[in-house]
């Protein structure tokens, strides 16, 4: 399977009090349409990934609202939701729509406007992406649920908080160089350790901020892109989804591994590549511990060793596989429904060679995105390849 990436667009990722959800969607969407060189009337289907407009913004039917303001009416449009995996799920549906042969050109948008509410309200809304009726009645939040995973990982593999802090150092090194990132500062292991406690053992520099942003892609049939050789020849060659555990209480490290490993194994087979072939990866890390878990799930390191790459350089820009050159969610922030789409846009920029100075890898050809959601409930893998001269 090859689905062409005709255009990409994204907004800055930051707190944007002057912009509404629809402003963000139109900014990213128009960017992708312009980059694709099409007009809105060419879009035959629109998938809008958005987690919580009902709670964050008191508005619903985001897909239909976006269709109107992007000017794609009468194309079909729908809102997609799968916790923090939402943007990746919108992308999956876009890929499936093209691969099925039903459509020639479709649009995928991910968007979230989180900062209209106070943190305490937003935290409560985010917690609805887990079982807020039962398990989270105990006072758990998303950071604290993941903190339990971090402690489990440290206990089982005999690691210290300092060992895990290297992941934040690496992400912030690159986030500081990404003009689209929310947090743009570098930090040391000592500064990570000194940052405020959020949910022990997770500290502030190991937790993503709440961010307003949107990202968008225009996808097309392979032939349409192939017939425009002047455009960057980037294709999505695998799209695989999975579900996992819905409860932190019963989520084991093996479950966390399977959440990515199972769909990644399917994705590698689908694209005809192996983990060793991957040059650049964007791996979900709304909390730092999720990056080593993702590195292990994708097969870049053995279980218990995914944290080492940030410490020894093997997941830095010149390493065996460059992980989160965008600064990851730790620096870009995690605009819930946008995140999966932003990961895709960031990898596509890498393959096009248009990533910002300081975070552009040396001529990468194959990239992967791994997005997850819920306590351990959603796994989403996409593989992207630059395929020229055929």
């Amino acid at each position: 399977m090859r689905v062409g990436v005709l255009g990409i667009g994204k907004t800055p990722h930051k707190i944007q009090h002057s912009k509404s959800l629809r402003d963000l969607i139109v900014e990213a969407g128009r960017g992708a349409i312009a980059d694709a060189g099409v007009s809105p009337s060419d879009i035959q289907m629109l998938y809008v990934g958005n987690v919580g407009s009902v709670g964050f913004n008191y508005e619903n039917s985001t897909g239909l609202m976006a269709a109107h303001h992007l000017g794609v009416v009468p194309a079909g449009a729908v809102r997609v939701e799968a916790a923090c995996g939402t943007g990746a799920w919108a992308l999956h549906l876009g890929v499936v729509a093209i691969a099925s042969g039903l459509y020639d050109t479709v649009m995928v948008v991910g968007a979230e406007k989180m900062n209209d509410l106070a943190t305490v309200e937003a935290t409560s809304i985010i917690a609805q992406a887990a079982d807020s009726k039962e398990e989270y009645f105990s006072g758990l939040t998303f950071p604290s649920g993941v903190a339990l995973t971090a402690r489990k990982y440290m206990q089982i593999y005999g690691l210290t908080e300092e060992d895990l802090a290297h992941t934040s150092v690496k992400n912030h090194h690159y986030g500081a160089r990404n003009p689209y990132a929310h947090l743009r500062f570098e930090c040391t292991v000592e500064e990570v350790m000194r940052s405020a406690k959020v949910a022990d053992p997770l500290k502030l520099f190991e937790v993503c901020p709440m961010t307003d942003a949107s990202s968008a892609l225009v996808l097309c049939r392979e032939e349409i892109l192939r017939d425009q050789p002047d455009k960057p020849q980037i294709y999505i060659t695998a799209s695989q989804m999975a579900t996992g555990t819905w409860y932190a209480a019963t989520d084991t490290l093996e479950d966390a591994y399977r959440l990515f490993n199972e769909p990644a194994t399917r994705a590698y087979a689908m694209a005809g590549v192996t983990a060793d072939d991957i040059d650049v990866a964007e791996i979900y890390n709304s909390f730092a511990i999720q990056e080593p878990l993702g590195i292990e799930g994708l097969g870049f390191a053995e279980p218990g060793e995914g944290w080492k790459g940030a410490a020894d350089g093997s997941t830095w820009i010149d390493g065996k596989v460059a992980v989160n050159l965008s600064g990851g969610l730790l620096c870009k922030g995690h605009p819930l429904g946008a995140t999966g789409a932003t990961q895709a846009v960031d990898i596509i920029e890498q393959l096009r060679g248009t990533a910002p100075e300081g975070i552009q890898a040396q001529d990468p050809e194959i990239g992967i995105t791994a997005c997850r959601g819920g306590p351990g409930a959603v796994g989403a893998i996409h593989i992207y390849q630059r395929i020229e001269g055929e």
Partner: protein, 136 residues
């Protein structure tokens, strides 16, 4: 996170009395929310079984930024307690200094005020304290 009073009338029982769901096939006990099938073997015949209320703290976190309903309680400990019946329960651990909370501590359940709803309504549920018998 928020529940209405009407909803709590449905959710209440498992929060006021500590119980799990015993599988008629493998005999394993799942957390109370597994009403529909056994988490361990998938069998769909389960019966409620009351738990004795004692267990061991096997994991914990300290919440510094709580959801709205828990405002004012922070920082507070949420633990994973492996009950003596071999089922894991997530619950706050209270009446203990943060620095004294340790994996391996024996704890017992106690009915406490859990949180406040929007209208000032009070929700009760099971919290855990250090088991005085084990500590003695």
């Amino acid at each position: 996170m928020t529940v209405s009073a009407i909803e709590f009338s449905r959710l209440g029982p498992p929060k006021l009395r500590l119980y799990g769901m015993r599988c008629s096939s493998c005999g394993g006990i799942s957390p109370w929310w597994e009403k529909f099938h056994c988490y361990k073997c998938g069998n769909d015949k389960l019966t409620e079984v009351y738990l004795d209320g004692r267990g061991t703290l096997t994991n914990y976190t300290v919440v510094y930024y709580p959801p709205r309903d828990f405002l004012g309680q922070e920082p507070y400990v949420v633990g994973h307690i492996t009950m003596d019946e071999d089922v894991l329960m997530p619950a706050p651990v209270v009446d203990t200094a943060l620095e004294d909370v340790q994996v391996g501590t024996r704890v017992k359940a106690t009915l406490r005020r859990m949180k406040l709803g929007h209208e000032g309504d009070i929700y009760y549920s099971q919290k855990f304290v250090v088991d005085p018998e084990a500590a003695a």
